[in-house]
């Protein structure tokens, strides 16, 4: 494996980590707001707060890691994506900032009111939608070079069905991932009511999720044939991913082990995410930028890899500790003891 591929695999893996943990977070906010509207708030709030409070900052760092890492490994992306993403990325930052800080204000500070929960829930859908635009842009066709400067064509982007199908997928995936996870979490907390409600949501969102996901493959055929063909070459990965999807739904339907269901779901998304990534290779931005012509120099690449390995040795035990104390600690999850600051 050469350094370019090693670099992109590391970054892609962290991006995948962000997709999963952030989806849980965003979806939880949405379900919380929704349950408030339909008057079922009591059921969910506790569960959601218990999970989110200790981890929201860690979620954010996954994202920071990705965008700092990509500029490190592939400095030219700063030039291309930095120039064109000013507006979409600024909106995403804005939403992330409001969401993150008001979560903290609300949880650790003073209780707010309903309008706030509603905004919080809504931002959970708008953020994935705005971040997902980057995937659309990377497929090419929206960026042209004018006097050597990349320029984004907003109107074409807005009109493209590909844009909207990716936005839809991001939303349905957030809701599906989040509801499967929360089913498991509520079950661990022995909260029968919440488990039943989240299970229902999981089953509701399974179908739209898989339809929108398949829709993208169809859309790509019209938009970027080269990418489409490479995806077809990887049909077995997508096939396997689909089988995992069916198993997850089957398990939840039959109320078997929700933990296993969540593990299978992570497998499903991992397979699809990496199959998408591999078929995108070697382009970072069709057809202007590949991982080869944007790669950093050898000295920097090696030092980044060394720093990464050292960092991982520090990180993995700490993450394990966090999960053990909060996610897998029965007493904490059930809320038997109150460990408030």
């Amino acid at each position: 494996m050469n350094l370019e591929i090693l670099g992109i695999v590391v970054l892609w893996t962290f991006l995948f980590g962000y997709v999963i943990v952030a989806s849980i977070d965003f979806g939880a906010g949405f379900f919380n707001a929704y349950s408030l509207i339909v008057g079922k708030q009591k059921i969910l709030t506790n569960i959601i707060q218990r999970y989110l409070s200790p981890v929201w900052e860690v979620t954010n760092v996954f994202l920071v890691f990705f965008f700092v890492g990509i500029v490190g490994f592939f400095p030219k992306t700063a030039f291309y994506y930095g120039t064109i993403l000013l507006v979409p990325a600024s909106f995403a930052i804005l939403l992330l900032a409001i969401r993150g800080s008001y979560y903290a204000f609300e949880t650790y500070g003073a209780r707010g009111h309903k309008g706030y929960s509603f905004m919080y829930g809504l931002s959970g859908l708008l953020i994935p939608a705005s971040l997902s635009i980057v995937f659309t842009i990377s497929e090419g066709g929206f960026v042209s070079l004018v006097d050597g400067q990349p320029v984004l064509d907003y109107w074409t982007l807005f009109k493209s069905p590909l844009t909207w199908s990716i936005v839809l997928l991001s939303i349905t995936a957030v809701l599906y991932i989040s509801s499967v996870f929360l089913t498991w979490y509520a079950n661990k907390a022995k909260d029968v009511e919440a488990t039943a409600l989240m299970r229902k949501y999981a089953l509701i969102w399974a179908l739209p999720m898989i339809i929108t996901a398949s829709g993208i493959i169809v859309e790509l055929r019209g938009h970027n044939l080269e990418h489409f063909n490479r995806m077809i070459d990887l049909w077995w990965m997508f096939g396997l991913s689909f089988l995992l999807f069916l198993s997850t739904v089957w398990i939840i339907w039959n109320r078997r082990s929700y933990g296993l269901a969540f593990v299978l779901l992570v497998g499903q998304f991992a397979l699809a995410f990496f199959a998408y990534g591999i078929s995108h290779y070697p382009y970072l931005l069709y057809p202007l930028l590949t991982i080869y012509d944007s790669f950093t120099n050898r000295a920097m690449a090696i030092s980044l890899v060394v720093a990464f390995i050292a960092g991982l040795c520090l990180l993995l035990p700490s993450l394990y500790l966090l999960l053990r104390l909060f996610l897998f600690n029965k007493r904490y999850v059930r809320g038997d003891s109150d460990y408030h600051p």
């Binding site: 954010n60 700063a78 291309y80 800080s101 990180l315 993450l319 003891s337 460990y339 600051p341």
Partner: protein
């Protein structure tokens, strides 16, 4: 191709974001150390008051960290959005500390989550204190790493440019550049100093507002003592920063000191205003600049006459320098007098007006931080990477920067007001006196 508007608004937006972020970042670097010290003193003296102090500081800290995290995420992305050409070059040479910073964030975030939710989980308080060490280390190291990046911008090295190509890149040489030692030390010391004085302000304010509880007195004495130590460190390292400038960035020092002609026995100009290139109403201390720059009255200090007109930084940074140094010296005196007075039993340090001066100390320290950064960053102009890339060449070509500026200004306004409101409400609703009573009741038998 140069886009003047984009350049101008990118600068304003960068200035705005960094000036806002640095307030919360400084608190984020300094306060964990203060919490750690308070909790440690509490354990050692077996004094509930210090433990409670640590606990209440932690609660406030969570709010400021949250704003630090979200504004930090903003600046991290904005660097690529507003300065794509700079980041492309920086990515090649100085990405290493930037990357290591994210690990420091990770480390801090994980352990902060654990620390917050395990207050009463351990029988032995020492174990709980152990969890705070990674938080403090992570916070301080994020400052160390990001400051290394900034030091590189002032004294770039570890690469060569041949025919427009970057060659001979050495990330470690880039990281350990000549600006690094003084810059990192000064930034970290000022963060500790500022955190101590902000916490002292709060304690003094509670005392002024009629609460005469011993809790606040202990808090005030502890924080002023820490403030004294770190303000002395700040001044000493600040002196070294000046010597660094004389050696490696003489144009910045010369502009900051209004030192126009290269000469020996150079005088130090304090305060004053610049009127048509003429210095008015200033104090002049003979030979002091030579001493400051090189340690000897007879040494020669390079003046602005040695530089091309378009490479001289704005002369207004002199005011920033004055503000920073005045506040630095003032805070050393204020905390020294307080410390001596407490030990010797001088009555006037208990008076209202003295406490008001302490209350002012927190905001003043923040102003010094801002002035210091403006001095350092504006003093680097017109370069973004000194001697290598001009700020004008680094900016984005996008036409939307002005709208983004309005958007972010609104965001920071909301965040600033929000954090102040939440913090003050949080502590007003749960005053110390009540919490001390509650804790006593808890200990008395009933377990929660």
């Amino acid at each position: 191709m140069l886009n003047e508007d984009a350049l101008f608004y990118s600068r304003v937006l960068t200035e705005l974001t960094l000036s806002f972020h640095i307030i919360y970042a400084t608190i984020g670097v300094g306060v964990p150390l203060m919490i750690m010290i308070a909790q440690w003193v509490g354990i050692k003296k077996n004094d509930e008051h210090y433990i409670l102090l640590a606990r209440r500081w932690t609660r406030g800290f969570v709010i400021t960290v949250a704003v630090g995290v979200v504004t930090g995420t903003a600046i991290g992305l904005q660097l690529s959005l507003l300065w794509p050409n700079f980041m492309e070059l920086a990515g090649h040479v100085i990405a290493l500390p930037l990357f290591m910073e994210t690990f420091a964030f990770f480390f801090e975030a994980i352990f902060l989550g654990i620390y917050l939710y395990t207050w009463d989980r351990f029988e032995n308080q020492r174990k709980h204190l152990l969890l705070l060490i990674p938080v403090a280390i992570g916070a301080s190291f994020s400052a160390v790493f990001i400051t290394m990046v900034n030091a590189f911008m002032n004294a770039p090295q570890g690469f060569e440019i041949m025919n427009g190509e970057l060659v001979n890149i050495n990330p470690l040489v880039a990281m350990f550049n000549p600006a690094m030692p003084t810059k990192v030390a000064h930034v970290v010391a000022t963060a500790y100093m500022t955190a101590a004085f902000i916490l002292a302000s709060i304690a003094a304010f509670r005392l002024l507002r009629g609460s005469n509880h011993i809790y606040h007195k202990k808090a005030l004495f502890l924080t002023m003592k820490l403030g004294l130590i770190f303000s002395i460190a700040t001044a000493v390292i600040g002196d070294f920063s000046g010597k660094y400038l004389a050696e490696y960035q003489p144009e910045k020092l010369a502009a900051a000191e209004w030192h126009f002609e290269t000469e020996e026995n150079a005088p130090l100009i304090l305060y004053g205003v610049l009127d048509d290139g003429e210095v008015k109403y200033a104090f002049k201390i003979p030979s002091a600049l030579s001493i400051l720059a090189h340690g000897f009255p007879s040494s020669e200090v390079v003046g602005l006459d040695q530089f091309a007109d378009d490479e001289i930084p704005p002369l207004s940074i002199h005011y920033m320098f004055d503000i920073m140094v005045t506040i630095g010296v003032w805070m050393v005196i204020l905390s020294l007098v307080f410390w001596l007075g407490t030990r010797r039993g001088w009555a006037f340090i208990q008076t209202k007006w003295y406490r008001w001066l302490i209350v002012l100390g927190g905001p003043l320290s923040v102003i010094a931080i801002e002035a210091g950064w403006w001095l350092a960053e504006v003093g680097r102009q017109p370069w973004v990477l000194r001697g290598v890339m001009r700020t004008a060449e680094a900016a984005t070509s996008s036409n939307q920067v002005d709208k983004m500026l309005i958007l972010f200004a609104g965001l920071y306004l909301i965040l600033g007001i929000g954090s102040i409101v939440v913090l003050s409400r949080m502590f007003r609703r749960n005053p110390v006196e009540r919490e001390i009573e509650d804790r006593k009741a808890e200990k008395g038998g009933a377990t929660s």
